[in-house]
Amino acid sequence: MSSAVSQARTPAAAPDGTGSPARRRRGVRGLSARDRVVVALLLGIPLLLDLAFVWFPAIGTVLLSFTKWNGVGGLHTTTCKPNLPSILNNGCVYGVQNYHQAATIYPEFWPAVRHNLIWLAVFVLFATPLGMLFAVLIDRGIRGSRMYQSMLFLPVMLSLALIGIIWEFVYSQNFGLINTVIGRDGNDNAIDWLGNPRLNLWAVLVEATWRQSGYVMVLYLAGLKAVDPTLREAARVDGANDWQTFWRVIFPVMRPINIVIMVVTVIESLRAFDLVYITNKGVNGLELLSVLVTSNIVGETQRVGFGSALGVVLLLISLVPISLFLHQTFRREES
């Protein structure tokens, strides 16, 4: 743990005494021929892999989103003709038509956007504050805090698919834990938590929050451990109470970790897929953008261009937290 803590330096702390590594680094020119081969191999192979399987597809998504293609045959650069049957109109340039169709005539699009936004809102308003609260309480070192931490952390270890299955016993209509406890397990008045499209998103969000808050707790605990204890001391000497100390002293110096948590919160709510897929394949009230992307490429109908356009929507949203994080992290190095 100590190594982890030394990494997460507070902004107030001076950089450690290694001197600036950037200035100590020796250029490639000063290397022997053998060393240059080593550099090329150590850097080249992983970079190639990363570019080929992450960045090439990412750019490919953007390009494909302007085409109309069912995956059979080739792509070409002629514009799609409006009145041809789609079989003759394959692999052509479609312009922004995919986006236009998604926004106008694709029935699942706006519900999916709404569900993704609700997902994000629940993470921001419930899961993250809850995780932070757990972390703050545990960090105060009350009795049994290690045991609490272990128990609250347990769901983070399980895969989301597994969480979906485990909770089905809690939500089950006839025998489930909740319906039995509240006495609604009769056949006529049982609540269908996962089947009712007006309830099931909230039921799944309880599962997602259950896991996410433990995740946020661990991240936030690491940040709290790295806060210089003298700050708390100074606040105490100045007569600040716990509440004031946290909001006016601790929280501001936690900025780096707050940004990390914000990134994790946004990205995790965009990535949300496993829970709804295992629950009901992501239909009937559980539509999410991630599910729509997937169903357009793995489903019966291959709408590559259309699925890509939905992927681009996800990409654009995710670029906001990603660039914030990169700016925060690499700002000082650029200079």
Partner: protein, 308 residues
């Protein structure tokens, strides 16, 4: 959160250590915190214990009395049945064949990149670091459509893939897990390597150590704690992966165990107790990591949230 003001008094060493804040017990705050955390902890383990309870009861029993009822008799028969009736052992073996190579390869490649980016001036160090880091932050669904097409196009020799393609092959799953997790590991390891004092490298240079020696004999041994923490984290993540396996594999016998759960649900649809047992079996490896390596796992997460 207690909000009573503190009397001014000189700081005690105990307070500075961050335990036992002050000598005057702030009783109500303590009690509220305790009650809140006890309730939360019970709620947090309850669903898991409940599923376990369903798994150790015979189907006939829950069929007549429901899940919430006193046990008439307990049995491990569901576990035995789930293990023998479905292909669970084979799916587990698939998970091993994907997870172990992926973790080893990711750590090997990422430590090489991190070493070059922190110790050799290749002019675009920060840019490359950003390329790797950002790659891991993209939602998987952003890249899946072209990736799926690529997997259907890229041929593989038959000893790597029965279908002759990257699609539906264990090799293909290893590749995407490696490529996708590279970014996170490069980020963490380069942060870690930056904290190694430059004097050590200068001493090695004076001794005439080449670049490879400085990497292999000096840097990697020093990074052992970070590598152990990352290995724990990656093993859990890759074992738990669901998305890549569901999209880049047909629902056949090549799937790793986490995504095979989706098939099992259909297979055991008439016997929920078997599903509960199968789910518990699938949870075993991560629970073992949780019991034995929880510290490592958390250290890995904390390293990732550290600053660059």
């Amino acid at each position: 959160m207690s909000t009573d003001t503190l009397a001014r008094r000189p700081a005690s060493p105990a307070a500075a250590a961050g335990t036992d804040r002050g000598r005057r017990p702030r009783r109500w705050g303590q009690i509220t915190s305790q009650v809140f955390l006890i309730c939360a902890s019970v709620l947090w383990v309850l669903p898991i214990l409940f599923a376990l309870y369903v798994a150790v009861r015979p189907y006939s029993d829950t069929r007549t009395h429901g899940y919430v009822s006193l046990p008439h008799h307990l049995t491990f028969d569901n576990f035995r049945q789930a293990w023998t009736q479905s292909d669970l052992p084979r799916f587990f073996w698939n998970s091993v064949l994907i997870t172990v190579p992926a973790v080893v390869i990711v750590l090997a490649l990422a430590s090489g990149v991190a070493f070059v980016l922190t110790r050799v001036d290749v002019k675009v160090n920060v840019a490359l670091l950003i390329v790797f880091t950002a790659g891991n932050l993209l939602p998987q669904q952003v890249i899946i459509t072209p990736l799926f097409r690529m997997y259907l196009k890229i041929p593989l020799p038959s000893f790597l893939s029965g279908s002759g393609l990257m699609y539906n092959s264990l090799f293909g799953l290893v590749v995407i897990n490696v490529a996708f997790q590279l970014g996170f590991c490069v980020f963490v390891l380069s942060n870690y390597m930056k904290s190694i004092p430059g004097e050590m490298y200068e001493a090695a240079l004076v001794d005439g150590a080449g670049l490879w020696t400085r990497f292999w004999r000096l840097t990697l041994p020093l990074c052992r704690p970070a590598l152990a923490a990352l290995a724990t984290l990656l093993t859990t993540w890759i074992y738990n992966d669901f998305f890549w396996a569901v999209t880049l594999m047909s629902s056949g016998d090549k799937r790793p165990v986490t995504s095979a759960l989706a098939n099992l649900q259909g297979e055991f649809v008439s016997n929920q107790n078997l599903i509960a047992a199968a789910a518990m079996i699938v949870a075993v490896p991560t629970l073992v990591v949780y019991v034995l390596l929880q510290k490592q796992f958390i250290a890995g997460l904390s390293l990732g949230s550290g600053k660059g």
